[in-house]
Symmetry: C2
Subunit: 156 residues, 2 copies
């Protein structure tokens, strides 16, 4: 089934090759889970999901793979307030770009992509300005809003 590195990952074959020198069963399994499951999975969520198909894959490998994918920009790592990183695959399709709205009481996370165009437009301009002034080569940005969700506003 493998073939050459990343060949079955039509979305990112080249970048997967850059991230991985070798394509292995564990890496394929982890990529599959990331591609098919819901967003915002913790390392352990991913480990458990992978574990159903390949019980021998270890948690350390999950962490190592996520680290590589994050470095390479194929995966985004988020921190929503419980000291536990969450991961989601980055679609090459730019229409999936979104930011997060986080309830500071119950931890609920809402993805929004309303206003995203406006936001990205401003971000692009700010990035250009910051690059010039501070000589930073900017790779990514993080925008999150924090507040109380509807439920948590009611409960005092």
């Amino acid at each position: 089934m493998p073939g050459r590195c990343g060949s079955q990952y039509a979305d990112h074959p080249r970048r997967i090759c850059a991230a991985f020198r070798r394509m292995t069963i564990p890496r394929q399994a982890i990529l599959d889970i990331l591609n098919t499951s819901k967003h915002h999975m913790s390392a352990e969520d991913i480990y458990l999901a992978v574990h159903q198909f390949y019980p021998q894959i270890g948690l350390a490998t999950v962490y190592r793979t996520l680290e590589l994918l994050t470095q390479e920009g194929l995966v985004s790592r988020f921190e929503f307030g419980d000291h536990k990183a969450r991961y989601e695959i980055v679609r090459s399709d730019q229409t999936h770009h979104h930011h997060h709205l986080i309830c500071i009481k119950c931890g609920r996370v809402v993805e929004y992509s309303d206003f995203i165009d406006e936001e990205l437009d401003l971000i692009k301009r700010v990035e250009a300005g910051l690059t010039e002034k501070y000589n930073f080569n900017i790779k990514t940005h993080l925008i999150q809003f924090y507040g109380l969700c509807g439920q948590c506003q009611i409960q005092q």
Copy 2:
């Protein structure tokens, strides 16, 4: 020296009273350090700074106090990438509002307030839209840019 709760903290006396039911030496010391020291201190940085004046104050108290101040919005907690929270006092003076630019290689953190007006203007509009659509009562936002600083661009 104490007087009544928060009396000597001209900046936020009312909010400090809301955060603290009792004003104590450790809390005064921690507030003093936050007000006078540089930004982006870790809990341990603050502990060590406080320790020079009051060696008996414990690290747990520093964490507890920072938690309270953060809840009350008097202090902002940031996560810059080394799994270690950083804290900075929130000035009531809005002119100190700033965002952060973080080097993903060496960890350097740059504060910028260029473009801040434009950013805050957009943020305000986005907040209004999100409040309406998702029924969130938004309290704070987080905007960070990640990339390579000048130094780290050179070193390969």
